[in-house]
Symmetry: C2
Subunit: 120 residues, 2 copies
């Protein structure tokens, strides 16, 4: 069982400037960045109520729980705002793959750019 | 000295859907998430040309190089797109603190929410 600690005043501060706030989802156990999605105030409220990530889909114009169909839910370990209150970093424990393609992370593609040490 | 590998066709794909793409900046050496900023096509082009991060400032409506005043630049290790081409994950080696406040990361605040194991 877990207790939860939250700062409700601080949470609502994120929605003064913008309706949708980008949320970076990071696997707490490995530090791997899993995905980025958007939260509105209601989806953040549901996230802190339930302890699992909820987002707002811009294309479907509705709230969705990550894993609502697949079962690949994200239990929230912590939510931290950035220095100017316009981005959230959400550390989670991911069940199953994070990406709808079945990959562990949404950033599974080959890099479009990378440094490569010169052959010596 | 480093060579660079890039996929220019893939890079321009990110700007078909939207003018500004959120870029998650992650320290390559530790996995720590440092900040989120926005890239337009020109700032991404400058980033891959120079090997250091450039962004587009929505408030100032201009390109800026991270560290242009402070010297706290970000050398780019890799840039990876997500599964639906609307977010970039940029792995960097950060010089100095990433945050303009002097903190190592922009996510330095106390979490607005966190799980806390119950006292046993």
């Amino acid at each position: 069982m877990y207790n939860r600690i939250m700062d409700e005043k601080k949470i609502s501060a994120f929605f003064g400037k913008q309706e949708l706030v980008p949320a970076i989802i990071q696997e707490a156990r490995t530090g791997e960045v899993l995905m980025l999605a958007y939260m509105n105030e209601e989806s953040l409220a549901r996230t802190v109520e339930t302890g699992y990530t909820w987002f707002y889909s811009r294309s479907r114009q509705r709230l969705w729980q990550k894993g609502e169909e697949s079962g690949h839910v994200q239990r929230v370990v912590s939510i931290t705002g950035d220095c100017d209150d316009d981005t959230l970093l959400v550390r989670v424990e991911q069940t199953g793959p994070a990406c709808h393609t079945g990959e562990a992370t949404c950033f599974f593609a080959e890099p479009v750019y990378r440094e490569k040490p010169e052959e010596s």
